[in-house]
């Protein structure tokens, strides 16, 4: 249970948000040129980090906009949020 600071709406209970998984996974530009292994890597394999993870969230019951967040998965502490398209600052 935690409070998430939406970059557009401010602090809200996390129940207003939906989780969008690991951030910065780029869809390959030419899927047909990839091997099955590379496609599986994109589709299924995840870092599943215990520690600081960069992830996507959507403010589903608010502004409905997507953003990125850096959260420590070992204690659910949120370090910072940043906008879609941005790289994490640290």
């Amino acid at each position: 249970m935690f409070i998430i600071k939406c970059p557009y709406c401010g602090e809200r209970d996390h129940s207003e948000f939906s989780y969008g998984g690991e951030a910065h996974i780029v869809r390959p530009k030419q899927p047909s040129e990839l091997s099955d292994g590379q496609w599986a890597e994109y589709l299924f394999t995840r870092k599943n980090i215990k520690g600081l993870q960069y992830e996507r969230w959507n403010h589903a019951h608010g502004c409905r906009r997507w953003f990125n967040m850096a959260r420590d998965t070992s204690n659910d502490k949120i370090h910072f949020v940043y906008q879609m398209g941005e790289k994490p600052t640290k």
Binding site: K47, N48, E55
Partner: protein, 416 residues
């Protein structure tokens, strides 16, 4: 190993039960083992047990970060069933169920396996079709399963609210009578005692810090108790499988999420079966102590905290109260979470990896307890022979590359 029997009980009564032999040793870690199992839960201990018993390997260690059975083995709702849809899953889970049926005798340890039946309720037309289909699929695979209509549901489990006026009315149910529950701690302890008596070293409070490999061969493990040389490592680390894999430079198709359960205050017996409901997401059984054991769902996000969010519990209890109005005055006693590793197809991985000597048994997600004996048995075979048993060949890690998934989201559990 001292055999537990009525005679050993009487004999020990004479000295006030103060001289019972310890169920397993607390050995010193040796420098070298033939096989090291990472993770001392039910699956890991069962793996060590079958490696020693059926594959004649004696120099085995189980290393456990905390205490044995203290992870998901001690955090689940102890439901055992094998009514899965696909052939591969049916083979795997029914293999486990068959071992459960004689496990107490085999281990000389009462795992309190109780074949009280498991019901899966249908709440809409789609549920009815899916569950009838599953009933037929089960029967074709030789697994007992029957269909109950609403009236039969009410007869089998009278406390279920079968009124047509509730939000999600009960439109029928499957029933697997061979399914049931077992005592989770006893499973870990029974396997630990059995493995230990065959010379397996169970090393508790020993956390793995690194995996040493030379190109594509494993050489050993760095642990908090020192380096262990070994050529075979079986990783059975549940929610932390990705963390261990990362030490060997591998990534797995897993996400670790918190899964919660809770128990009520103890009451007199009211429910003598296990009732699961996928659609409203509630499942309940009653322990021998009288507590209602209630399983909730997973949270959506990755977390290793062993605690989930309140609304998950709230949602489950809302559904429970609608289905069982009799529970409305009950207080909940305890609530906890475990970290479950979920595969994209909701089926487990029991497999070799790209690194020789490194094996994974993971991805059991929200429903691993039921498979404990079968999982250990098949994983031991995979490690000892360096190739999968026919029953776990489909649960190869390469299925995510070939696309031959075992998609069990519908039947695996309620929590996906």
């Amino acid at each position: 190993m001292l055999k537990y029997s009525i005679f050993s009980l009487i004999k020990n009564a004479f000295n006030y039960h103060e001289n019972w032999q310890k169920a397993w040793r607390d050995p010193e870690l040796k420098k070298k083992y033939d096989v090291v199992i990472v993770g001392g839960g039910g699956h890991g201990l069962a793996t060590a047990y079958y490696l020693a018993k059926e594959h004649n390997l004696k120099n085995i260690a189980v290393v456990e970060k905390g205490w044995i059975g203290g992870g998901n083995t001690g955090r689940n709702t102890t439901i055992i069933r094998s009514n899965y849809l696909w052939d591969a899953s049916a083979g795997l889970y029914d293999h486990a169920l068959k071992i459960w049926e004689s496990l107490s005798q085999e281990l000389n340890f009462n795992v309190m396996f109780s074949q009280r039946g498991v019901m899966n309720l249908a709440h809409n037309q789609h549920d009815v079709r899916e569950l009838k289909r599953r009933t037929h699929a089960n029967r074709l695979n030789g697994i007992d399963c029957e269909w109950l209509n609403t009236k039969q549901v009410k007869e089998f489990c009278p406390i279920i609210n079968c009124s047509p006026n509730i939000r999600y009315p009960v439109m029928g149910s499957t029933l697997q009578k061979r399914a049931g529950t077992a005592r989770h701690d006893a499973v870990a302890w029974g396997y630990a005692r059995g493995a230990d008596s065959m010379g397996v070293d169970i090393i508790q409070n020993c956390e793995v810090k690194g995996i040493k490999r030379k190109r594509d061969l494993v050489e050993g493990l760095e642990t908090t108790k020192g380096f262990i040389k070994t050529s075979k490592i079986g990783v059975v680390a549940a929610g932390h499988s990705s963390v261990i894999a990362n030490m060997a430079g591998l990534k797995l198709p897993l996400e670790s999420k918190p899964l919660q359960a809770l128990v009520s205050e103890p009451i007199k017996p009211v429910i003598d079966t296990v009732v699961m409901s996928n659609a409203v997401h509630a499942y309940v059984s009653q322990s021998d102590k009288g507590e209602l054991v209630i399983g909730a769902g997973t949270d959506s996000y990755v977390s290793y905290t062993q605690k989930g969010t309140h609304e998950i519990i709230e949602g489950t209890l809302k559904a429970i109260l609608e289905l069982y109005p009799i529970f409305s005055r009950l207080r909940m006693l305890r609530q906890w979470g475990g970290v479950v590793d979920i595969c994209p197809d909701a089926s487990p991985i029991i497999s070799k990896s790209n690194i020789k000597g490194l094996y994974f048994n993971c991805g059991w997600g929200t429903g691993g307890f039921k498979a404990t004996p079968g999982s250990g048995h098949l994983f031991a075979h995979t490690i000892a022979k360096d190739e999968p048993h026919a029953l776990n060949a489909a649960f190869n890690i390469n299925r995510f590359i070939s696309g031959e998934l075992v998609d069990e989201h519908g039947a695996a559990a309620v929590a996906h």
